[in-house]
Symmetry: C2
Subunit: 403 residues, 2 copies
């Protein structure tokens, strides 16, 4: 009889957002008349359509697949077409990050790469994850039986964790601008993490999925803007939030050529070679029409069109922040991020505040406690909704919470 | 410093097809004048374009993504849209397999699911894999440090392995019609495997990626045509060969509701729940336009259009088989499969025959030895090429090998 991977049995039974969906459905069952007034600011999903230049490129790719002369089957490497990798490398260069096209591997999204990258590391690594954090970092490591320790993000440090040289770790997860807190590292803060990782010989797994929301100066969009990062970091990124690809599915992972680890037999092993071996055996590349669409994102026209959507979400974030300012509620994010991370009023617990907002204002957010122990007492709102609904939601919250 | 998953270091450095690509490139370097005469019958990749009804559906899906009212972000479950799961369930019912829509999970391809399904099982399982076999079954288990044992497929059993009740295993990989041998189980042969798996409490991981090539009666297209399979089998399937999706990327995995394993604490654990938990944390679903295209495959028009391509490949397979018959060379496959698995002439080794065909006939095939020890002395040709080139390749082979 097969033995299960019993690490799975130690996990929460459901992924956070599935639990939230269940709560909403239960509420609708109880109060069907409220169904249409629910405003969803919970899951971090975009709502604006894909840019026309991207749609056109996907359709052109689909047309090519329908003609024998331009049909494309398996990619030779499965790592992504050169036209897309070169477009992404050009994007990195535009803000001064040192990344080469051949160091990029295209995937169906940051979640897949975040989840799968752990396969190339052994079970006995100590994994340092910020708390709160995107649940995939924790779950994917617990599934593989690894020991996870936490770096505290709190109100005291503005939800930007600081390295502690007394802590030893082998793998470090960082996400900036952060999901869920919206806080973004300054160059100096991120440099401190790179220095720490290098001093203890750790590898940073850096999630840059929200880089397109950065507006403030001195806030890096890529860890590869930081000196020394090429020998200690992997970067995972995505077009989900940058260009509305949550349903289109395309991301990428950058592993610098020089990133290597000494194996137990003393040989120097390239991390990128291991990742290529993993992906070569377990992944067959991203749909060609989707890669065509992704490449269109990086054209001048594409950049202009996605900017319109990004500005729309940023204005929503400003509206949410202004309402919280009016209420005198502490929050992080909203400036370099689509997320606003607020302190629940009256020392309420996250899930209690979730229930209150759902049942008394029909606004759905995400309980901070779902992201780790330091998330208790906090709550995440997203700016990905409609302008009208965002305004309406904040009006309802203001009415509910005004003293 | 991170500890690597050193199981990776025990693997062959490169995936089989990457080695073949390197050999071809080296030959072209040496003999650039021969470049244009090379006929590729090695990698199992299709060459005919995607059916027009599928292209139209992908484009319609892309258009919907460009309009706010019809835009789709994350799927709620990430398991695939109901419209596609219901289309696939209907397809299963059309040939008498007992599969429900809610038991299907959509993926970006059979390779991903084959590679990732092992995550839900523990490291100490004994894994029984037919030899020869698709390298992903072996590599994905070696990467996780599992013990792999083999069930011999040989000329004596017509390359259809037979269960041996003296062998104990926890997971069993079967592929029918088989890659690389093209041999397909009869109903009785597959029933014998189901009975064996049930008697030893093992789970069969059944790869049905080539089911659309089955033409002979009494040859199951799905393991779920076999009585008893629902309590011992997982089926992984793909549109890659069925509908030319090698570059479009869509597959599916079926886990029956009743498939369960007893955990060490005595609880009964649903395999489908574990797979959903794994995919929920490490996968975010398949591109919406691609799912639209996949659903079009299962419409009456789609089935008619893909049949034209399938018949084209089947006729190629017949041509290859006829040439080998003329030469008096033993082979399996070609009838219910796009693959022809032939015995190398004059007791040649697989890679020697590869080199001979490449350098003396400019025909590329796949050395059987790349699929396991029983593949030594055998060679795989595929019927996925152009008709003219297939005829030309077989003419060259006939000239080369005629005594």
């Amino acid at each position: 009889m097969p033995q299960l991977n019993e690490n799975f049995l130690k996990l929460e039974k459901n992924y956070l957002f599935i639990n939230i969906a269940k709560k909403i459905n239960a509420y609708i069952q109880e109060s069907p008349d409220k169904k249409d007034s629910i405003i969803r600011m919970g899951i971090g999903d975009v709502t604006l359509p894909i840019a026309q230049v991207v749609v056109d490129a996907v359709k052109r790719g689909a047309d090519e697949m329908g003609v024998k002369e331009t049909f494309r089957g398996y990619e030779d490497s499965g790592s992504g077409y050169d036209f897309l990798k070169e477009a992404i490398a050009g994007y990195y260069h535009s803000f001064g990050a040192d990344v080469r096209a051949e160091e990029i591997r295209i995937s169906d999204g940051a979640k897949s790469d975040c989840g799968n990258i752990v396969d190339i590391f052994g079970p006995d690594n100590i994994v340092l994850i910020t708390d709160p954090a995107y649940p995939v970092y924790v779950d994917s490591n617990l599934m593989s039986g690894r020991r996870v320790i936490y770096a505290d993000c709190t109100k005291e440090n503005g939800f930007c964790a600081v390295p502690d040289y007394n802590v030893k770790a082998d793998l470090i997860y960082l996400c900036s601008p952060n999901n869920p807190t919206g806080a973004a590292f300054t160059t100096a803060q991120l440099k401190a993490w790179v220095d720490y990782a290098k001093s203890i010989g750790a590898i940073i797994i850096y999630d840059a999925a929200y880089e397109a929301f950065i507006t403030e100066p001195d806030t890096p969009r890529s860890i590869f803007e930081i000196e020394g990062a090429r020998s200690c970091a992997i970067e995972i990124c995505s077009l989900s939030k940058t260009a509305g690809f949550t349903g289109m599915r395309c991301g990428y992972t950058v592993i610098p050529e020089e990133l290597a680890v000494t194996a137990s037999d003393g040989t120097n092993v390239s991390i990128s070679a291991l990742w290529n071996r993993r992906q070569g055996s377990k992944f067959n590349g991203v749909s060609y029409p989707v890669q065509c669409g992704a490449a269109a994102v990086f054209t001048p026209e594409g950049q202009q069109q996605i900017k319109v959507n990004l500005e729309y979400y940023k204005e929503n974030a400003r509206i949410i922040g202004a309402a919280l300012d009016e209420l005198g509620i502490y929050y992080t994010g909203g400036k370099n991020s689509p997320y606003i991370w607020l302190e629940c009023p009256d020392n309420m617990k996250s899930w209690d505040f979730f229930d209150m907002l759902l049942t008394q204002a029909q606004v759905v957010g995400t309980p901070g406690a779902g992201f780790g122990k330091n998330g208790e007492g906090f709550f995440r709102l997203t700016s990905f909704g409609d302008r009208d609904k965002t305004i309406e939601a904040m009006d309802r919250i203001k009415k509910l919470l005004a003293k």
